[in-house]
Amino acid sequence: MSSRKILIVDDSETIRQRVAGALEAAGFSTITARDGVEGLVAAQKERPAMVILDVNMPRMNGLDMLESLDVRNSELAVLLLTTEVQPSLMARAKKAGAKGWMVKPVNLEQLVATVRKVIAQAPAAVSA
């Protein structure tokens, strides 16, 4: 697993491009996927350190993908990035092991700072 590799899963091309651009400018490498199904495949194949995950997507939504990733039993960190603000959805993400919830539109500098902070706190980063 590379502690600099981030998977961005969002059906919005605009979000994928903006977030990937900001993270790459900060020294991370990125891969992208357009929905939960593509995201699951990419997560298994690429073994990123973190997934930035939308909630509302075709085929498989972000919360279903999060639960399929079983992050409570892995070193993978997940941050949700969504327009949703419903407390019940946040509670579901927290229960499934997500590290945080970001409400669109997020300031990209703050997003990068949050990614750095969460990755620094991950077990893999500490032991690396």
């Binding site: 919005s12 979000i15 075709p58 919830w101 970001m102 409400v103 539109p105 997020v106």
Partner: protein, 174 residues
């Protein structure tokens, strides 16, 4: 809430959410008087998208129509460009997200569909199906329109002073 008050609340919500959304994208917009029933106010634009919604007392479609010139004002990373079609779909999604977040305070929980590209034929069908209101916004590069269609029971909007909801730009670490 009385239906006329509910209608005013929703109109204010849509207008202020649209202004905030475009401001965040670096585009200054000025609201124009809304037109509730005049379909002639709805003319095709280069970039159009819709998103469906349903919830207690509401079911319908939100549409966004943007001239190409307005999209040219959006800042892009030349290494990571995105298309106008993708941008307008993301924008209508974020607009409904903002409205949905504000409606929570009025005890309305919406389910959002997925944003879809709208072409001229789709626009004609949308107009034929009935538009509840059109919200127009002037920009330096033409006029943006936001359409609301479907069924809305304005009396379902009941204000509660619950303020624990997250809002745009918030980052919550668990």
């Amino acid at each position: 809430m009385a239906p006329q008050d509910g209608r005013a609340v929703l109109e204010t919500m849509i207008q202020s959410s649209t202004v905030d959304l475009f401001h965040a994208a670096g585009i200054a917009v000025a609201p124009l008087p809304s037109t509730r029933v005049d379909p002639s106010a709805i003319t095709s634009r280069a970039l159009m998208a819709t998103i469906s919604f349903n919830g207690n007392g509401m079911a319908g479609t939100l549409g966004m129509l943007v001239p190409a010139g307005a999209f040219e004002l959006v800042k892009q990373d030349p290494l990571r460009p995105f298309t106008g079609a993708a941008w307008v779909q993301d924008s209508v999604n974020q607009l409904l997200g903002r409205i949905k977040a504000r409606l929570l305070q009025f005890q309305v929980t919406l389910q959002m569909g997925l944003p879809m590209k709208l072409d001229e034929t789709g626009l004609k069908q949308l107009v034929k199906g009935g538009i509840l209101a059109t919200y127009r916004f002037r920009t330096l590069r033409g006029e943006i329109a936001v359409t609301l269609s479907g069924k809305v029971d304005y009396s379902k909007l009941n204000y509660s002073n619950q303020t624990s909801f997250a809002s745009e730009g918030d980052i919550i670490i668990f």
